[in-house]
Symmetry: C2
Subunit: 535 residues, 2 copies
């Protein structure tokens, strides 16, 4: 049972559906040999078996919805297939049914028509594949767990899909320093489990953990739920191995916390969304597993109170504050309606989830109790509940983590992932509700408040050009006016590549294009993604 903290708090029983798990996806048992699963038993595409993808109406082909022209790449020929088969025998997939899931993104908003999926196991194989594609001028779409939010993870036309799903080996783990070196296709949740057994945790965590790959996380510079405490992958990733467009293997897979020998090349690939190279292995430093974790789930009467609660937490919890997430009442309704999760506290306009992670259960509980007393007594919080044991902690987290899933069940989702000055974070949501009126089914706001990161989502029965027109460029212009970012953590992928200019000046865009030309002169890696098409 979730422990009510003080008597006036809600003591209702929390969970309607008792058997659910923290990770919503039907997580596949991916063949992490050293993580204890024998490889033979997995069906090749099990890791993509989301219920939200399977079934439902066919997703519109990307070029039918978006104005995009195929670039003059070659088309995969029988000879190409034979060459691939030589490099990775038995792992060249051309079966249309198996290809279907890899051609469609998690949100079911874009669809490519690739005819071939390649499943290498080693960097050497990736290198040989790219060498071949480079020579043959074949476009390539690197794919991890395919949980990306911006249409970057699937082909736009017939690009070869290069999946890291079978590159799922832990290479080494140092149990004093906590430095993990692994292949790019390791599933984040598997890695989490692996390092937790050794008394460490992964420095990042996100709702997609059951499916996303560490390589995909690095390629998107994923933020997620622990960013507030453990910072960006730019600090925690120590090394990368990357295969360049022409097949050259760039080995920067060092396991050193500090290394200032020359330019830090790995940084170019972090967040480059598969457009500059294919990440094949990652070295990452894991923080020690905290001895005590507490989660409080609180109801706030207004957004001003959410902000004030954050300030109070930051001031009083200091170094043990490990997450501060918020969601509005519409989010709560959606997780209730679509996923049958029950609100553990009184209905409120806003909810926040506060997590502490520390090295002394007693000290942490004392700090958190002081905070909770203060926010309750001052009226910043009207109701709340707290959990310390792992199962209950996960239950509370699910309310926040499964919002993305609930939204995707609500209809077509227009997704915006913005960095904004924290004081103005919620204004845009209110503004849009008025602007869109009944044209939108739901306009919701939630996200990583502690990082100034708003997930603004608008759902509708179906994709609608008119609704899109009401949203864009309005949302981007609004954000730019606040000097915010039009993509805080999801990247630009296919769907946001043309809005780069709202957050970056022309000089920067030109430099990015030069960098792309330097590393991928033929432009075969994830074309139509990240950078606006050149004039």
């Amino acid at each position: 049972m979730v422990l009510p903290l003080v008597s006036r708090w809600s003591a209702r029983v929390l969970w309607a559906s008792p058997g659910w798990r923290r990770t919503y996806t039907q997580r596949a048992c991916v063949g992490l040999k050293r993580l204890g699963c024998p490889r033979g038993v997995y069906s090749p595409l099990a890791h993509r078996a989301y219920s939200v993808v399977a079934g439902g109406p066919e997703v519109t082909l990307t070029p039918e919805r978006y104005p995009v022209q195929r670039l003059p790449f070659s088309t995969v020929s029988e000879e190409d297939l034979a060459a691939f088969e030589c490099i990775i025998p038995g792992r060249v997939i051309t079966d249309p049914e198996q290809l279907q899931t890899c051609n469609v993104d998690w949100l079911k908003t874009v669809r490519g028509c690739s005819k071939v999926l390649l499943r290498p196991q080693t960097s050497e194989e990736v290198s040989q594949i790219l060498r071949h594609c480079y020579k043959r001028n074949l476009a390539v779409n690197p794919q991890g767990g395919n949980t990306g939010m911006v249409g970057g993870s699937v082909p736009v036309f017939d690009e070869v899909i290069l999946s890291t799903a079978l590159m799922n080996q832990v290479i080494s783990f140092h149990d004093v320093s906590g430095i993990l070196v692994c292949q790019a296709g390791c599933v984040l949740e598997e890695l989490s489990r692996y390092v937790q057994e050794r008394d460490f945790i992964m420095p990042l965590d996100l709702g997609a953990k059951g499916s996303c790959h560490i390589g995909g996380n690095v390629a998107t510079n994923a933020g997620g739920l622990r960013f507030l405490r453990y910072g960006s992958l730019r600090g925690t990733v120590l090394g990368l191995e990357v295969v360049l467009a022409d097949g050259t293997i760039l080995n920067c897979l060092t396991s050193l916390r500090k290394d200032n020998t020359g330019y830090d090349l790995k940084q170019m690939f972090i967040g480059s969304e598969g457009t500059l190279g294919v990440i094949t292995a990652v070295s990452i430093v894991c923080p020690p597993r905290p001895k005590a974790v507490n989660v409080a789930f609180l109801g706030c009467p207004g957004f001003a109170e959410v902000l004030q609660t954050f300030r109070t937490c930051r001031g009083m919890l200091g170094e043990i504050l490990s997450a501060f997430e918020f969601m509005d009442t519409e989010c709560m309704q959606l997780v209730g309606q679509h996923l049958q999760l029950t609100n553990p506290v009184q209905e409120s306009p806003f909810y926040v989830l506060v997590e502490t992670s520390g090295s002394s259960a007693g000290h942490d509980a004392e700090k958190l109790t002081n905070v909770l007393e203060q926010v309750l007594n001052s009226g910043l919080v009207t109701d709340g509940t707290m959990a310390t044991d792992q199962r209950k902690v996960q239950m509370l987290w699910a309310l926040r983590e499964r919002i993305t899933e609930a939204l995707s069940r609500d209809g077509y989702v227009f997704k915006y992932d913005l960095s904004l000055p924290v004081e103005r974070l919620y204004d845009l949501v209110i503004d849009l509700r008025t602007r869109l009126g009944p044209r939108a089914k739901h306009v919701v706001g939630y996200g990583h408040l502690g990082d100034g990161n708003l997930h603004l989502n608008v759902t509708a029965e179906a994709f609608s050009r008119e609704l899109l027109g009401a949203l864009e460029p309005y949302v981007y212009a609004w954000t730019a006016e606040q000097r915010g970012s039009v993509s805080a953590e999801h990247g630009l992928g296919f769907k946001k590549k043309d809005v780069l200019g709202y957050s970056k000046p022309p000089v920067a865009v030109t430099l990015m294009q030069q960098l792309k030309a330097m590393l991928d002169p033929e432009g075969i890696l994830n074309p139509y993604k990240t950078l606006p098409a050149q004039a």
Copy 2:
């Protein structure tokens, strides 16, 4: 007085010279207008007035000691000087005496013969200067506080010195988020004071704080004393403004914690040591000022005990551990001999400095006391002392921070800054003592143990080619064998540029050269630095 923690600890009076300050340099009062000092009163080069530089024998000209050829850049003409005078009237320095200090590095190991020092105040001025130099093919040496350790901060021949000393304005500070935006020439210690008054701290700290500039810190990707807790500048620097070789201003000066719009260009400039662009402004996130800081200074009987003490601290102090530094007994002798600092504890083979920073004085003291009891009782530590008030904390820190200064007073210093597996960190010091015998005056080891970072220093009466031959490439090969880094935090600059290959594979070096060619096609920015000369 420094409080003895438990009765068996040393209670001797600590400090021979009562009047000393934490920062050893004769720190200049640099004209940070908004930081409270009127600009008019400073002599132009006051910030370089180190006693260790002034006086003493003339430093050998770099090309006389090192095999390096001047590249075919133009020579500064009267017309160039007139053009500079037009851009920055009154701030073009050609007086040989004033130029002397800017031509010699802090360690007095390299000397250039530049005839002109430029002191712009704005990015626009930097842009105009570089536009002129680019057109005229004049080589440029960006210079911050000139505290660099690898000869990167001074000209090798007659490069134009472009100093950020007058670019010392705070642009903005947000007192909720702690995000500071400032010009590149702000002195780290001034910034520290500025943000501390607002209840934040800088995420980095180093012994050179009284002189080094934030731009120089970013240009060298400085690590320093808070790296263990607050991580790398790659995570804490949020934005940069950079002037490119041709004078183009690249404005990536965002103040957002998260921004995944396109490639993160600022990363290319962090740690690029002035070879890819001139950093003119920095946006950096400052952590809240901890409410309680404790420092313990401990004596350990051996290096194995140092390591075990570290593990104990990490395990028991967890999130409040903010520094773990070590030094050997020779270091202590040198700070005693050259700086008259007194050892606060019993003489020991090794000393460690443990710092905690947290949000509850009571909780932190309790945690630290538990640790200290444990390490004393188990014999890992034989003597120690602890401090909580700021003055005493600074006194203990000085023992560690002033080692660099003590070494520079001991004679010519051969400096190595290595990342090594922590278990083998001290082996190389022992090995070298045997190898060098009486040829070396002192062979000492100290550094950021918590980050696996050893500062290995060898002193001699004077520079000696023979001693150099005994040290190099031996030290680099030894490090490479351990898969370490031949420059953990100091960068490569002029003196280490040719050893890049010990830590990076040829593919990486080639890519770095391409990056340099892309951003600085004429190679005018800090030539002869960071990258090995191309064949």
